[in-house]
């Protein structure tokens, strides 16, 4: 299997802060793997995730995502990489002035897909997240759980090779959490996407094999 993510002696730190968040870690994640990243609050889980979509550059060591060296990646290449990554945020990050349907197809709009393709894909994904009847509503008209399901649908809309999720069920009720985990499982199992989920708690019922990384004191340890 090809490595989708490869970190080699990776160190991450915020430019303004002096403290190092992730210190000298090495790991690889292969295509089609499902990875949970857990750890105490402030341990650097979200920082690690941000480094995977280029919002934080490696301070030392190397990090490769989808074949791109993240410490040397150019802006244009970074945007190109991001177009093929689906990202789910704890705070949803939906565009409130856009309808649910338009939010879902944002990655398709960015890539320049036709309106017909957008329409078909939006209908399919909204049906998967059980929000077909909410297509023309605006995000602020939905509950938190519904907004997160829109966020997951958006992340899946372009069949990305990599899905990154930061506490995707952190604020959700049981039903919405179940829908979100099912969708992420399916993306990994059926679409062979690599999924990296940062979470406080791994769900008790999970139907596919997964790896588990714990971040603690700047280090990343895999639980076998």
């Amino acid at each position: 299997m090809a490595s989708i993510i490869a970190a080699n002696n990776l160190t991450l730190a915020y430019e303004k802060g002096k403290n190092i968040i992730i210190n000298d870690v090495t790991f690889t994640i292969e295509q089609g793997e499902f990875v949970f990243v857990t750890g105490p609050s402030g341990s650097g889980k979200s920082t690690l995730l941000k480094s995977l979509y280029g919002q934080i550059k490696p301070r030392e060591g190397t990090l490769s995502v989808g074949g791109f060296d993240m410490s040397k990646i150019k802006k244009k290449q970074l945007l190109q990489l991001r177009r093929n990554i689906g990202i789910v945020f704890q705070d949803y990050k939906l565009i409130n002035e856009w309808t649910v349907e338009k939010n879902v197809v944002l990655p398709l709009i960015i890539t320049g897909y036709s309106l017909d393709v957008q329409k078909v894909q939006a209908e399919k994904l909204l049906s998967h997240v059980k929000l077909s009847d909410q297509a023309n509503k605006y995000p602020l008209e939905l509950s938190g759980g519904e907004q997160q399901r829109v966020g997951v649908a958006r992340a899946l809309s372009k069949n990305p090779f990599l899905i990154l999720a930061d506490e995707p069920t952190g604020n959700l009720d049981e039903f919405s959490s179940g829908v979100v985990w099912d969708l992420l499982e399916n993306a990994c199992d059926q679409l062979n996407a690599t999924v990296v989920v940062v979470t406080h708690k791994i769900p008790t019922i999970f139907n596919i094999p997964y790896r588990h990384f714990i971040i603690e004191n700047g280090g990343v340890h895999e639980v076998h």
């Binding site: 480094s51 280029g54 919002q55 490696p58 301070r59 945007l79 990050k93 565009i95 960015i110």
Partner: protein, 272 residues
């Protein structure tokens, strides 16, 4: 209501800037036309003992356009009315030549004085009258008005730019989240700022059209009832169709710069 207010917040300062530019265009045309009128109506009077020709005087100063000889007989008749023909013939014999000297363009008083001294230095020229004070006083008032207008336009521009900057901050607040989310999903800057650019282009079109309507009204209605003869007889100077394109182009440039600055301010800077 909020949307209309948002549009007006950009349209009004943009209109103020465009009005300033249109004022400059109109006033430059009026100045040029007025100077041309002054030049055409103006001539230096030269009294000479010898015959003068245009090429000869041009060789002395290239700002001289043409030389027009005045009818000596007419001049002699005026001073000899009631005298006998013999007296007229005697006067004609000693009467010098009179010339009107026309210039190539409108000259300042300093330039006129320079031409006068050059002509006076020519052997045979008895006198040169430039009528400088009269000629120049009209133009001085005109230039004063033009200078005051330029100061006013500069002030208008400064205030307008400050208002546009204020509106750019409003845009930044309103579009920041959307632009950041789009960037996370890989949208290039053109796409991220596209929506804002469309809004601003509509404002630019509205501002240009409103400006055009104001100046067309001034041209067609106000100038007809104006007490200023020069304006009444030169309505074409008040608005040209080419002005519309100049104003629109200016508005687009202002919009492009404003949107570009907003887009640059909202773009993500990687940490680490």
């Amino acid at each position: 209501m909020k949307s209309i207010k948002d549009h007006l917040m950009f349209i009004l300062p943009l209109m103020a800037m465009l009005i300033g530019i249109e004022f400059i265009l109109v006033f430059n045309r009026i100045t040029s036309s007025y100077e041309n009128k002054l030049k055409n109506e103006y001539a230096i009077l030269v009294v000479s003992q010898k015959n003068l020709t245009t090429p000869y005087l041009r060789s002395i100063d290239d700002k001289i356009d043409s030389v027009e000889a005045m009818n000596r007989a007419d001049i002699a008749k005026e001073v000899t009315s009631g005298m006998q023909d013999a007296a007229l013939a005697a006067i004609m014999k000693d009467l010098p030549f009179f010339y009107r000297v026309h210039l190539t363009s409108y000259m300042s008083l300093k330039e006129l004085k320079k031409i006068r001294s050059e002509l006076k230095a020519v052997n045979g020229i008895l006198n040169v009258e430039i009528f400088g004070e009269n000629y120049h006083s009209k133009h001085t008032i005109f230039r004063l008005v033009k200078m005051l207008l330029n100061i006013f336009i500069v002030m208008l521009f400064i205030v307008s730019i400050m208002l546009v900057i204020k509106q750019m901050q409003v845009w930044q607040l309103a579009h920041k989240d959307r632009m950041k989310i789009m960037e996370i999903f890989g949208a290039p800057m053109m796409l991220r700022s596209g929506i804002l650019f469309k809004v601003a282009i509509i404002d630019a079109i509205i501002a240009t059209i409103l400006n055009m309507l104001i100046f067309l009204f001034i041209k067609s209605k106000w100038s007809q009832n104006s007490d200023i003869d020069f304006v009444k007889h030169n309505q074409d100077l008040l608005f040209n169709i080419s002005d519309f394109f100049i104003l629109f182009l200016t508005a687009i440039v202002i919009v492009a710069i404003s949107v570009f600055i907003v887009a640059m301010n909202t773009r993500e800077v990687p940490e680490g």
